[in-house]
């Protein structure tokens, strides 16, 4: 779980969080949204960062590129009972990546 391809060692959750936060900060830095302050594990992707569906798609593309993985089961993060979730937090993203990388 959360293994680096070369060494077989897990990527620490804190390191994953830093990468995710960096991606989200980079994505939203010049958006006209009300959210201010730093990205935290409790930050909500939809409610706080005002992501639309297309933004979630772009976010996933960034994550796939960053972690060099095209096969991550993002439906397990984004869907419940075959329906798309209304929102999810940064911590849930980190937990998902830690489990599946």
């Amino acid at each position: 779980m959360g293994e680096r391809p070369e060494t077989g060692k897990s990527i620490p959750q804190e390191e994953i969080f830093q990468e995710v936060a960096k991606i989200l900060t980079d994505m939203t830095s010049d958006w006209d949204i009300d959210f201010s302050g730093d990205i935290t594990p409790a930050t909500k992707i939809i409610a706080d960062l005002q992501f639309e569906s297309i933004d979630v798609v772009q976010f996933i593309v960034q994550l796939e590129g960053k972690f060099q993985r095209k096969d991550l089961p993002f439906e397990k993060l984004l869907m419940v009972d075959e329906r798309y979730r209304d929102d999810f937090t940064v911590q849930e993203v980190v937990d998902f990546l830690h489990k599946n990388l």
């Binding site: 980079d26 593309v61 960034q62 796939e64 439906e75």
Partner: protein, 521 residues
């Protein structure tokens, strides 16, 4: 180095362009064609923008490059996960990469499936990227900052995503309000103008060896307004429709001026290719294929709250299905594809039965055969990426796209004809050594990439599936500019199975080269 320009005209067809030229609406294109070579251009088996443009710029068919639709659907446990295709899904090398790593400067603007951009010697701005994601999707990044300084450039007139375009065209089809129609034409006039402003800037400030752009307003306007331009219907329009037609003609007037200016900027020594990814024609009905599949017991619908679905707006494009009751379904309209979910041991018999049922189906009102062809994936999309393709690809009698939503009747005859894709687009070639005339047979969209490489003076990779359009050239020119074949596997494809077409030494050399360019870590 020999310069080449590719002007992509999404959805262009001679059915519309010839009458426009004859009536004086595209005077430059008319005069250019008098000295150029032209032919129809056969699209991919499903004539759709993403697979077609990617085939054009890779020289490979969808079964090799792996792009079948705007939307990528993956079987995940007992559900289907939908997302959008992007450039990392393309399993073959593009002509941009080929030319760039052989020392050519390349500019490609507004080509689908090019986000995120792959680094090259030149400039990239992909198609269908929302404005707030463009900064991360323009290459090099400095171009993003530079764009704001280009005289006349207005960013808010420009970026349009797949969802926005899809929704706008659905809205136009359902609500033919004249003011809204004018607004849509104006939007596309402005968008194409912004693309032209960027291209002109780059051609003047930092000319490239291979310059390419797609103007997609043709497609965006032919979908809702085919009837206003089709010679078979445009003579019988109301006053309001005639006013709307004049608006749409303004688009083609502007397009003609852009083509003129691009050709002049390229210079007399450049080769110019104009090509479309597919053609266009009338759509006469809406075929609710999933309702038909339900009637045959192959599909179950999921209860949905439409207000909830609208929050996730991409779900408008997908069928809302009960997977536990579904053995065959059409996932997206644009794929015209049916996916089968039965155990392997019953697959062949199930598929054969379904194919015959679809071909046997008749419109209950007109008695017309609706599905005229059903192509299994191994026939439509052979190649290492075949497993990603729909099991069956449908061709309808009016070549329209299926509807995947739960609405009756199964065949709804449209009160107003819309435009839909057709297999035959356009190919125009001009420049030194080119014959003038018309080729009687259509070329394949796979022929564009080898033709572009020939124009550039580069060898053709042996993996390319098309051929140079030899009939377009004077024999003396072909004699003086020999076609080279690259037998060293200059392109690569990422196979599904993990089996590589390359030897271990070839793989190491290719990956080392990609690392040196920064494509891989």
């Amino acid at each position: 180095m020999r310069k080449t320009v590719l002007i992509g005209l999404d959805g262009a067809t001679f059915t519309i362009l010839d009458p426009l030229m004859a009536a004086g609406h595209m005077p430059f294109l008319k005069s250019y064609l008098a000295g150029a070579f032209r032919a129809k251009l056969l699209s991919t088996p499903n004539p759709l923008t993403p697979p077609a443009w990617v085939s054009m710029i890779t020289g490979r068919s969808p079964g090799n490059h792996g792009i079948y639709d705007f939307i990528r659907a993956e079987n995940r446990d007992d559900t289907i996960y939908f997302t959008l295709y992007n450039s990392s899904d393309i399993k073959c090398e593009t002509i941009w990469s080929l030319a760039s790593r052989q020392g050519h400067k390349v500019v490609h603007l507004n080509f689908p499936m090019m986000a995120p951009p792959q680094p090259l010697n030149g400039y990239v701005i992909p198609s269908m990227v929302q404005w707030r994601h463009l900064k991360k999707n323009i290459y090099p990044k400095i171009l993003y900052d530079t764009m704001a300084t280009i005289p006349g450039f207005q960013a808010d007139h420009w970026a349009l995503t797949y969802w926005e375009a899809n929704e706008a065209m659905r809205h136009r089809a359902l609500n033919p309000d004249e003011d809204e129609g004018k607004a849509w034409v104006t939007k596309n006039l402005n968008r194409d103008k912004q693309w032209f402003i960027i291209l002109k800037y780059l051609m003047e400030k930092d000319p490239a060896d291979l310059t390419a752009i797609v103007f997609d307003g043709v497609d965006k306007l032919l979908h809702p307004y085919w009837r206003l331009l089709d010679p078979e219907t445009s003579g019988d329009l109301s006053d309001g429709e005639n006013r709307m037609r004049e608006q749409v003609l303004d688009y083609f007037h502007q397009l003609d001026s852009f083509i003129r200016d691009i050709v002049h900027l390229a210079g007399d020594e450049a080769h110019v290719i104009m090509a479309s990814d597919h053609g266009f024609g009338p759509a006469r009905y809406v075929f609710h294929v999933n309702v038909l599949l339900e009637s045959w017991g192959y599909l179950g619908w999921r209860e949905v709250d439409h207000a909830e679905v609208k929050k996730h707006n991409h779900e408008w494009s997908f069928a809302s299905l009960d997977w536990s009751k579904t053995s065959a379904y059409a996932g997206t309209p644009s794929s015209n594809g049916i996916r089968i979910r039965v155990p392997e041991e019953s697959y062949e018999a199930f598929r054969a039965r379904l194919m015959q049922q679809l071909l046997d189906y008749r419109d209950p009102v007109s008695g017309e055969q609706i599905v005229t062809r059903v192509t299994p994936r191994e026939e439509a999309f052979p190649g290492p990426a075949m497993s990603l393709a729909p099991d069956l690809t449908l061709t309808l009698s009016d070549h329209s796209f299926v509807s995947v939503i739960n609405e009756e009747p199964i065949v709804l005859h449209r009160p107003e004809i819309n435009g839909t894709h057709r297999p035959e687009g356009i190919f125009i070639l001009g420049g030194p050594g080119v014959k003038s005339g018309e080729h009687p047979e259509p070329y394949s969209i796979l022929d564009i990439a080898p033709t572009m490489l020939f124009c550039l003076g580069l060898p053709i990779p042996k993996e390319f599936e098309g051929k140079i359009t030899a009939a377009a050239w004077e024999p003396s020119y072909l004699q003086a500019h020999r076609v080279g074949i690259d037998n060293t596997s200059g392109t690569f494809c990422t196979p599904e199975s993990g089996d590589s077409p390359f030897s271990e030494e070839e793989q190491k050399a290719i990956w080392a080269h990609l690392q040196s360019l920064g494509y891989v870590e």
